[in-house]
Symmetry: C2
Subunit: 348 residues, 2 copies
DNA sequence: CTGAAAGCGCTTACAG
DNA sequence: CTGAAAGCGCTTACAG
């Protein structure tokens, strides 16, 4: 199948390549009739632009913006996202894509809003962002919509938005994986405690999906072990956690394993370490530094991880494909969950 | 930092761009003195060719050859490799890379040799292959060396070859991961049996590395659980396996977990299923269809997997980078091992 | 041994 | 409203 060039279209339509180009790029100044003719022929011939030639000639730079929580040594998860983006940009090197990062402080609404303003001002061709703060994110989506800037969500999904795509964790499967690991390692006569630490109810969709997955595993397995004992701890403060955990462990003497449904697993790890409860199985989510530290100490047994680098890398590639060829990606793309223990954590 | 063009080099050297091009591509017909001058300037200016322009102008196709065992429904691992290669080629789409696949029947030396001959005749610019059959592969390397065709190993490594790179599993870490999973799930008073099924001693390097990793875990943990009971089963025939396993389980009544150091895990799974030994923990390697079937049945608890798609995808990218920019990749690149159980197997 | 010209497929002014 | 020309950075003949 030979490549179709604008020259081929031009010849068939009896016009010049300049006209074809104007039609293809909606640059106007073309008679309606000519326009129709060119479009029809382009479609018939399955014209696909040669993006190599485009890149060479246009020197068009694609400026993307990425709005993410600030990572750090204590938050490897959000550290990894920019890395994944950089890597993807690098693979697109010959095509002049650049990404400008806008980092906001987690849980800081004012900062988030400030950064969204900066992005609107920066006026990028596309935006990749983590809509963690719901209300503010919806406003941002509206702003982007009116400016006709396409955006892709990573990590968190918001319903009823015009996002081009969402790329994130399969939280439900993550819950099932956590359940299976506990089930495998825990004596049959022991109980499981589920701890939900959701300070400001952020990411509660994730937590819910995970817990649903967790339950479904035991339902499917016909085991009555699932959600019998659950505790909500609204604060991750050491003292608060201790009070709540002390009381629950006092009234439930048979608990052999704990699942923490959020990234705050390290808080419970610290508690278990302090109380010298080393035989208790502890499973949680996300490869934050605090979590992996406790994993290496042997206090956390497993972490269920996503692949942040691949996630955001995909976002960049999808955005690039959309911008260059108007290829619409699938609306939701779930990343596989990974089982991490002390032996394979360093490979990530 | 502005892009340096051959025109810039030409101007500085006081020659034409044609001459610069001849120097850069070693196409001869250049005075030694001119050559030196141009090379010096190119180096000084950190010249990097614009691969977009190269691709557009040269229409040079890179023909790669991939020599792999034939995959199939019963061998998902080798099925995945071509897929990974296709995917990588696709990402390189605008650059005219194509890969011609040569599949050989596993363990069939004559077929392997026949396919290497075909490849030599095909005369590709680069070869990606799995040197599973050692003697024959060494011969093939020699052939490629004399024809000056670069090659990258995947899956298996051969010492003292001129391969551009090796991309494969971290077998030692794989062994440690297997050990940690068994240690986590097995009662402290139970024993572990290690089964080495190595019919024709293929891949024995892998098996050895895995077993070393396995042992090291228990050594590090200060546990005396490691390699106490080991059995070698030279044949994967059902009857042979049964005889050997019967005898070993009869003399060792306390075995609670079995590790199979190779992809033949399903053979032991069949045995356990047949004998209705469902409480025995079974851990093995590789996501072959037969293995994943037993994983889904709950007879195999964990499989330690590699990422075949990423592995061979990387091989393609490294080869492409080498061919276009002479970038030499690192000699060995190990892929992370993955923990697969019934809950996350379908995500792969 | 070296240079000047044509061309890859596309975009960007410019002339009419 | 439309066409012809120049140019992106490189490679490929061809002329000398």
């Amino acid at each position: 199948m030979k490549q179709v060039r604008i020259k081929d279209i031009a010849e068939k339509a009896g016009v010049s390549i300049g006209t074809v180009d104007r039609v293809l790029h909606n640059r106007g100044e073309v008679a309606a009739e000519t326009r129709e003719k060119v479009l029809t022929i382009a479609r018939e011939m399955h014209y696909q632009p040669n993006i190599v030639a485009q890149a060479l000639t246009s020197k068009k730079q694609y400026h993307l913006a990425a709005l993410l929580p600030r990572g750090g040594q204590d938050n490897v998860y959000w550290m990894a996202h920019p890395q994944g983006i950089e890597k993807a940009v690098n693979e697109l090197r010959p095509f002049f894509v650049d990404v400008h990062f806008f980092f906001f402080e987690l849980h800081n609404e004012a900062d988030f809003i400030a950064k969204t303003r900066e992005i609107i001002e920066y006026n990028p061709e596309g935006v990749i962002f983590a809509p963690i703060l719901k209300k503010e994110s919806i406003q941002f989506c509206a702003d982007l919509d009116t400016k006709n800037i396409p955006y892709i969500f990573i990590d968190t999904f918001i319903e009823d938005s015009n996002c081009l795509s969402f790329i994130g964790e399969d939280a439900y499967q993550g819950g099932r994986v956590a359940a299976s690991l506990i089930d495998y390692g825990l004596d049959a006569d022991k109980d499981i405690l589920i701890v939900n630490i959701a300070k400001d109810l952020e990411n509660t969709q994730h937590l819910n999906r995970r817990n649903q997955g967790f339950m479904s595993y035991f339902l499917d397995a016909g085991k009555n072990r699932g959600m019998k004992i659950t505790v909500e701890i609204p604060s991750a403060e050491r003292a608060d956690v201790e009070v709540r955990m002390d009381s629950i462990l006092n009234t439930n003497k048979n608990i052999g394993a704990i699942l923490v449904s959020s990234a705050k697993t390290h808080v419970i790890a610290r508690y278990l370490e302090h109380k010298k409860l080393k035989d208790t199985i502890l499973v949680g989510y996300e490869l934050t530094r605090k979590n992996t530290d406790y994993l290496k100490k042997g206090i956390i047994n497993f972490l269920i991880g996503q692949k942040p680098m691949e996630q955001s890398g995909k976002a960049v590639k999808r955005m690039f494909e959309f911008l260059t060829t108007r290829q619409i990606p699938s609306k939701k793309e779930f990343q596989p969950v990974e089982i991490i223990n002390v032996e394979n954590v360093d490979l990530f």
